[in-house]
């Protein structure tokens, strides 16, 4: 029992601070608003400390194997917490200018904390029930947060679309899980893997294959892979930008860590089944083709990022299709790069939006001359998104593609490379707007206001993007260590 509690200390801390903020904001009222972000930050930092102190060298399997502490979960928890920290940092300035969020600030941060807890639980879940519950714990707060701008019709639309499609996805996921339970008679992921190997279920049980594919459909919704991506553009566009950032980073992290757990531990031999591999390949191919080509005509930055994240999900799915050991850490490294560049791009976009009140790509015009530093960082993020050296995105793509080629999926990789060439156009378009197009708007808004905290976060993220190329071995080592326990 003690070891059970020790293993979930980080989650307890995050949940506790979330509840604390909720309660204090109720009882103290508006006066507490200024203190919320520091309290939340303290909570997250404490949780990071707890992961290092209690979990890092103590692999454990708690709560009847439903909660697993291994390298993967420890790394993922720290990764999630750092992402959450950055999002909280970005939100400090953002919420001040958002009339809606400011009103229910305690609840806002409580929900963000719950998303974080859900993601942490997801990365360490050991059975199907935990996978499902933690995915819900990630999803339900994001549905609410997406609709946080109450009178904004777009925000309502975003929330409603996300909610209906998300619930449908959860239902399909749950049904898939129940079929897997029916086929194997186990909910524990490791035991499922054992039973599948013992009874050779992947070659003779259609129940299991259909269950796995249905679960993949459910996860596909959450990671926004085509053809299950229809919620993404509208939700990204309509949600408050800080929540778009949350959805595109933490919620994606949750879905991917769940997918890694589910596929690589649960259905560990999924490579044996042609159907499952074929399904993943189709998902991946559709994602990066559709994502990149649909992004071309977009004029709204958030919509563009939605399609861009669909295509990135497609690239990561190549790693799942390859299903080798190398592919596992390649996906992990890609995720790190993806989170870093997405956070960066959104934090710059948030500043632009706050000053110029527009999310259009046009709003970026001319900022290359008024705000040289931020613009250079934005160039780094954009180039990194395309996957051209010398930035993080390149490292991520390189290893995923390498794993794909090694698994004899060269044709898929070639299509991937070609479509990422297409993506060059729309990413560079943003850079073109920043430097070669004059800003025609309110002269007061020409110079983008950049609070010190945001500039600090942006520069840290830009440095991270560069660091991933300068010392890739460190990140490869992290990735390798994170997956060795499988």
């Amino acid at each position: 029992m003690v070891i059970d509690l020790i293993s979930i200390i980080p989650e307890l801390i995050v949940t506790g601070f979330g509840l604390l903020v909720l309660m204090l904001s109720v009882f103290i009222g508006k006066k507490f608003d200024r203190a919320i972000a520091p309290v939340i930050t303290a909570g997250i930092v404490l949780a990071i400390g707890a992961v290092f102190a209690f979990n890092f060298y103590n692999p454990a399997s708690a709560f009847n194997n439903s909660f697993v502490v291994d390298n993967f979960s420890s790394f993922f928890r720290i990764f999630t917490l750092i992402t959450a920290l950055i999002i909280v940092g970005l939100s400090v300035g953002y919420v001040k200018e958002s009339v809606y969020i400011k009103r229910n600030l305690g609840e806002f941060y409580f929900l963000i904390m719950m998303v974080t807890v859900g993601t942490m639980l997801m990365s360490s879940s050991g059975d199907l029930i935990m996978l499902f519950l933690s995915l819900e714990l990630v999803s339900i707060p994001t549905y609410i947060l997406a609709g946080y701008e109450k009178m904004n019709e777009r925000s309502n639309e975003a929330s409603l679309k996300y909610f209906i499609l998300g619930v449908l996805a959860s239902a399909i996921l749950a049904y898939g899980f129940s079929l897997i339970y029916g086929a194997t008679g186990e909910i524990n992921l490791k035991e499922i893997a054992q039973i599948i190997i013992n009874r050779d279920l992947l070659s003779n049980s259609y129940l299991l294959i259909v269950g796995t594919i249905m679960a993949l459909i459910g996860f596909g919704f959450k990671i926004g892979a085509a053809p299950f991506h229809w919620w993404a553009p509208d939700t990204y566009e309509g949600s408050p930008t800080i929540i778009t950032t949350l959805i595109t980073t933490i919620a994606k992290l949750a879905a991917f860590s769940g997918l890694i757990r589910f596929l690589f531990i649960g259905i560990s031999r999924f490579k044996d089944s042609v159907w499952i591999i074929l399904f993943i390949i189709i998902l991946s191919m559709l994602s990066f083709i559709l994502g990149n080509f649909m992004a071309l005509p977009q004029k709204n930055f958030k919509r563009l990022m939605a399609y861009s994240s669909i295509s990135h999900a497609g690239y990561m799915l190549i790693g799942f299709a390859a299903a080798t050991m190398d592919a596992q850490w390649a996906v992990f490294v890609y995720l790190m790069a993806y989170i870093a560049m997405n956070l960066g791009a959104f934090s710059v976009a948030m500043l632009v939006e706050r000053t110029r009140k527009s999310e259009e790509i046009k709003a970026f015009a001319g900022m290359g001359y008024t705000n040289p530093f931020i613009s250079i960082c934005m160039i780094i993020f954009m180039i990194s998104m395309v996957g051209i050296p010398p930035f993080a995105g390149f490292i991520g793509k390189l290893f995923v593609f390498k794993a794909g080629v090694e698994a004899n999926l060269t044709w898929l990789v070639i299509i991937g490379v070609l479509t990422s060439v297409v993506s060059l156009w729309y990413y560079v378009n943003i850079i073109r707007h920043m430097y070669f197009i004059k800003y025609e708007g309110d002269a007061a808004a020409a110079k983008i206001k950049a609070p010190k905290l945001n500039v600090f976060i942006i520069s840290v993220l830009a440095l991270f993007n560069i660091a991933m190329v300068v010392v890739p071995s460190v990140f490869i080592l992290i990735g390798k260590n994170a997956v060795t326990l499988f």
């Binding site: 609840e107 409580f110 008679g185």
Partner: protein
């Protein structure tokens, strides 16, 4: 019938009937406790809650022909394909494994059930409770929204707001602006005691009921 019925009240009753049939299935599978829970929770509270929501929020309960649906063919096709493929899968695979497990677990009485729930599955249980709390907070946030509008109009530099809507309710809300903060506190305090009642009276008294329906609907979901 639930989804094709144009009268929302009828749909609710059809839903109750469907859920009753599901409960029957549970009894046939020898999961009596689950059947009882199904009846109690789904029919006893959720359907009744839907009816309550209808009663309290809609001025006119009647045929709602507004719901346009031009995807009927596509939806039917998908359903048929899914049904056929699942039937094929089920008929080709050995289902007896499921039955074995059900008997192997020996969850026959409520005592066994609770024993397992609080020992083997403690963590999922706790997470489910957190999940419900989150949903509760979220539904209150959504239900609370409408009344605090005036504040938004004093703040310069707001983002796009539906101008017509704010204009209409401007007068009512001026009075309420000051109470807003206290109301949040009051409602949150009342969660424990009587959620539906408290938020219903507070929000419902003053407001046109549109957003309230949304909040109530979400409570129903949960």
């Amino acid at each position: 019938m639930v989804i094709t019925g144009k009268h929302i009240l009828h749909s609710a009753f059809y839903l109750a009937a469907t859920l009753l049939c599901v409960a029957m299935y549970f009894i046939m599978l020898r999961a009596e406790f689950l059947a009882a829970v199904e009846v109690l929770v789904y029919i006893g509270s959720i359907v009744v809650l839907i009816l309550f929501a209808l009663m309290l929020t809609r001025t006119k309960v009647g045929e709602d022909t507004n719901i346009s649906n031009n995807q009927k063919v596509f939806a039917a096709l998908t359903a048929v394909i899914l049904f056929v493929s699942l039937t094929l899968v089920f008929s080709y695979s050995k289902i007896d494994t499921v039955a074995e497990n059900a008997t192997a677990l020996k969850i026959s009485s409520i005592k066994d059930f609770s024993g397992i729930l609080f020992t083997k599955y403690t963590l999922p249980f706790e997470i489910a409770s957190i999940l419900l709390l989150t949903a509760l907070v979220g539904s209150i946030v959504i239900a609370m929204k409408e009344k605090l509008q005036t504040e938004s109009e004093t703040v310069v530099g707001q983002k796009s707001i539906d101008a017509g809507n704010t204009g209409n309710q401007n007068n009512e809300n001026n009075v309420l602006a000051n109470q807003g903060v206290q109301d949040i506190a009051a409602i949150d305090k009342n969660i424990g005691s009587n959620l539906a009642g408290s938020s219903e009276t507070m929000v419902g008294d003053v407001l046109p009921d549109t957003d309230d329906a949304k909040g109530e609907g979400q409570k129903g979901e949960n």
